[in-house]
Amino acid sequence: MRVYVPGDAAARALGADAVAQAVQEAAAARGVDLTLIRNGTRGMIWLEPLVEIETPEGRIGFGPLDAADVAGLFDNPANHPKALGLVEALPWMAQQTRLTFARCGVIDPLSLEDYAAHGGLSGLRRALAMDAAAIVAEVTQSGLRGRGGAGFPTGIKWETVRGAVADRKYIVCNADEGDSGTFADRMMMEGDPFTLIEGMIIAGLAVGATKGFVYLRSEYPDAIKVMGRAVEIARANGLLGASVLGSRRDFDMEIRVGAGAYVCGEETSLLNSLEGKRGVVRAKPPLPALEGFMGKPTVVNNVISLATVPVIFERGAAFYRDFGLGRSRGTIPLQIAGNVKRGGLFETAFGLSLGEIVDNIAGGTLTGRPVKAVQVGGPLGAYFPRAKFDTPFGYEEFDGQGGLIGHAGVVVFDETADMLGMARFAFEFCAVESCGKCTPCRIGAVRGVETMDRIARGDADAIPLLTDLCETMKDGSLCALGGFTPYPVMSALTHFPDDFATTRKAAE
């Protein structure tokens, strides 16, 4: 009997380890020959722990399970109260276009055989037969843009690094994933780590780099373990090392752990941190593509950008590019979070409206109260009211509505949300996390908290001050931490003026 119990951190946070243990005990007690696989999560977090049993028809799911539900899996699975049927046929799964996440939740994350049996390594094999310029051209033609937030075309970045002349070049994977409401990087690294490794190797071939780093945040201890183990396995099997898959091409990589600084997700701050320095932001230029890690040409890409490269090579640039909307090509792993009935990861072509995502896919709020605001794109993203629910999910489309898609986190709040409080929190977070290098961010964030407190006390004169401060931070900050904190703040003020006014009246 083959049983899957996710080892993903979200599943474990909801009790998957106890369920896995109960499965083992129940199998032993019944003399059942058990193969237990700790897969990644499928991304249906509201159903975790989601246990799957392999049958000739496909994998049947049960969830959310706790240890007490396990005996029934063995004794009477057909009538189990938490039986969900075929997992792939569940609407959440059937409605997706899983390209980047095709294997996540399906395979044993640390089995290279399983990986290869599900299409893994075929992209790399194809890339190994191409020259560097052709590899870069393939990425450019796919239309892939950076999934870390800025949406910069990945092929153009790679071309800059490819063209740079240097004795050493580097591939740095940004796995700092600090944005609230996002967990796609974590899910990928825990559920299908070889895909990231494969993407980094292809990046190395494309630009002439032989060394890679994954800068992985310390808040992800499970991902750190899985990635570390995956690199060892890749090395032991000739995927990493002096001759990648016997090609005589050299690529190796290290996992480095962050130290709890949000700003280290900003690429230049990350590079300083990787070099062992304070994680302060560097002025650009020079671009990291020309002077990055240790002053050498460096590709810095998000986990999802890199993990999407293998499927582009497996299926072809045109296949990938044909999904999407406008200049947002391919698929985007939406991360649906906060107060929602159905939260998790949903990979789909760009272009769904925010309303479809929130009302249909997420099913509205868990509390059942009306949705008040949706923050898209992490702590530096704008709060959208229902009036903007027809905005299609795409880089330019969100920008045009005064927002950003960032790393594609969608955080839903019900009507009890206090938007003045959320705006204050945005400043507070910026103050805690500012690297301190530029004044608008370092001082502005602190002034912002004070100004919000004045507004909360009913001081209407503080509102123009707030607007001014936001302008200064936007125009004068060195990076988007200070520069984009005005997005959540000003969107809260603009779209939810009542939250600012009511407090004022109450105080009067």
């Binding site: 979200a10 609230s180 808040e219 992800y220 130290a259 062992g276 890690f293 979070a337 939260g343």
Partner: protein
Amino acid sequence: MQKPNHLTPEEVRCRTEEVLAAHAGLEGPLLPILQALQSGFGFIPQEAVPQIAEALNIGRAEVHGVITFYHDFRDAPAGRHVVKICRAEACQAQGANALADATLAKLGLQWHGTTANGAVTVEPVYCLGLCACGPAAMVDGQVVGRVDSARMDALLAEAGA
């Protein structure tokens, strides 16, 4: 807060020497070195700073500057258990503020504070990537989702707070 008085300077020196040796050859070794020291000692002893500076051929001030920049590094030991409660937006949307306020009030602590018996330090964390199953917390590296006040009480009791 506990004093690190159970460590002799000689212990610190030896362990630091080992860690430095284990990380020779790395590119940009300072963070991994500090992380290894902290995982061994529970904090980064002040006495280790000159030794690290000398080995890496950088100034003491630079090492000190790095230690103080990052939220993870401590200059004194934490309680026996560290409970991190997520304060980020997605968890706030699921009631994290009330959970955090109640927890701190119950223990009579501010953020970063340690209970009088030295059992538990409570810290804020900005996102654990458990945004679809908040409020989220982490106890000594173990993640916990959908933490309500009953669950938090159980976690604290287990930790001996």
